[in-house]
Symmetry: C2
Subunit: 336 residues, 2 copies
Amino acid sequence: MRLFIDAMGGDLAPEAPVLGSVEALRNDPALEIILAGDLAQIEPFLADAADVRNRITLLSAPEVITNHESPVMGVRTKKESATVKGMLALRDGEADGFVSAGSTGAVLAGGMFRLGRIPGVERPAIAPLLPNGKGHFLLIDCGANVDCKPDYLVQFGVMGDAYMKGVVGIENPRVGLVNIGAEAEKGNALVKETYPKMEKAPYNFVGNVEARDITADQADVIVCDGFSGNLILKFMEGLAGTLMGIIKGEMMADTRGKIAGLIGKPAFRRVKKIMDYTEVGGAPLLGVNGAVVKAHGSSNAHAFACAITQVKKMIDGKVVDIIAKGIAEQTANAAE
Amino acid sequence: MRLFIDAMGGDLAPEAPVLGSVEALRNDPALEIILAGDLAQIEPFLADAADVRNRITLLSAPEVITNHESPVMGVRTKKESATVKGMLALRDGEADGFVSAGSTGAVLAGGMFRLGRIPGVERPAIAPLLPNGKGHFLLIDCGANVDCKPDYLVQFGVMGDAYMKGVVGIENPRVGLVNIGAEAEKGNALVKETYPKMEKAPYNFVGNVEARDITADQADVIVCDGFSGNLILKFMEGLAGTLMGIIKGEMMADTRGKIAGLIGKPAFRRVKKIMDYTEVGGAPLLGVNGAVVKAHGSSNAHAFACAITQVKKMIDGKVVDIIAKGIAEQTANAAE
């Protein structure tokens, strides 16, 4: 298996992507990696990687598409960027998967316009796995599509279903629709129109999931428009931080609390680990014609290695093929 | 001051609204209350309230608009409901404020069609005060308007600004717009169109607030469409519960954790109190031509008494007048 790694994306690049790649290569002797970026910046971090160096191909890609420019323009003009080169390598079969911790917009635009969509897919979507205390659920879409049509959401269900089958190994994933009530007639215009279409879709649709139940293990795939999904994802991050801050503040407020905090440290550390979704790796870009994972922008080397593990699982689990099959069935159903 | 109380609304009615009213009357010797509902069910709970009985007027309102019927139809047909009678009493000056823990839809429909809107207001909104660790922010709208136009959101800012000035006493409330990025050009079609209009609105607009910062005290009033607001409100409830469950589970998993849990109990109790937004009372319905508070459906007597305190503050703080003035200014600005 050969993966294409954007060495220049993310807050800690190139160190984290390069050292993460080395970690992944050490974990898997069958893996090969193409490291793309500014070679002068990459090479120093390979000084201690002689043991895996023969499985690394360095590729010069000096341009970077940043978070501060138009992703579509970036993908169009920066042909020497790792994102553009990686997507073309995937398209042409020179790589089996792609990982970047860089601009989400650039990964999305590169996926859309350089790699291309799976036939029949209206809109690719970004879909992180998030913790719910009992395991994980896939939240799709998380920001690729801020204004959605009902058919996009129906297809997000197909893509999420495929991911949970292929990567997580759930036989018949429960697919739910984010809504403000449990009843079919609830919601805004978008979800009201989406609901009956999802009932006919080729997956295990379990109906609406109220926001209070998103982390209550009511569905394996939770579908929403990208604006709502981004709200949920970011709010989860912010609220967990606020709540942990309140707990810390109250425990430090008196001696009893301070002692409890000291004694309870291992338990709190486990809680933090459960809530830390960077452990999972990153978020797959589903619907494009290849295995693409967007690692968290703040990924360190280990988190980046986890994202590499994730893209490997997508390839092994044939997620792209399962989506293609599901979309063909869904579009045939919808045309009836 | 005379308040109209729906004694039949909420999960714990009539006990909670009746005993909550008695608590409020004991706290404030100047208060008078109209208790409306099924009198045979109400009277037993007044057995121990001889000390305030002379300030209670009982009003027969045997019909109840439930959560399981169309609110608009309910308000149209159930003329003998406390909601309809209360809204008419407000309209006709027979009461100064209204509190119900019943169907949110019924309170909203009653407010719209029986009480009426403040002149110039496009859509009333539901706006709870939520904790952020440092204090509270007002989230507007939380479900009254699931499909919004930009002008609704601009006006939600006016209404939230008025509430924070009149009730919470903040001189120049910071008004933020919920978005998926901090930059003005981010977001879905709705917020992109709303942003420049908010810049011209007669309040202290502080720009976009990303979901991760909603509980980070970046704004006193946080504006969004009712679908997003309901997501945020309910997700906050659900996630806080999930997180506390994970913490509890991890602490019970070993002896150290169990001991820490015991010693830390007072601190955990304080955390729970901070996060418990029912302490605040309920959510005001802003934009209608009177002081209306929707208490949480699960309110107990004390929570109901808090909701009564809240409606009193709305009346004392002249929130309706401030909104009317703000809306006049905003619509004049917009027409320029």
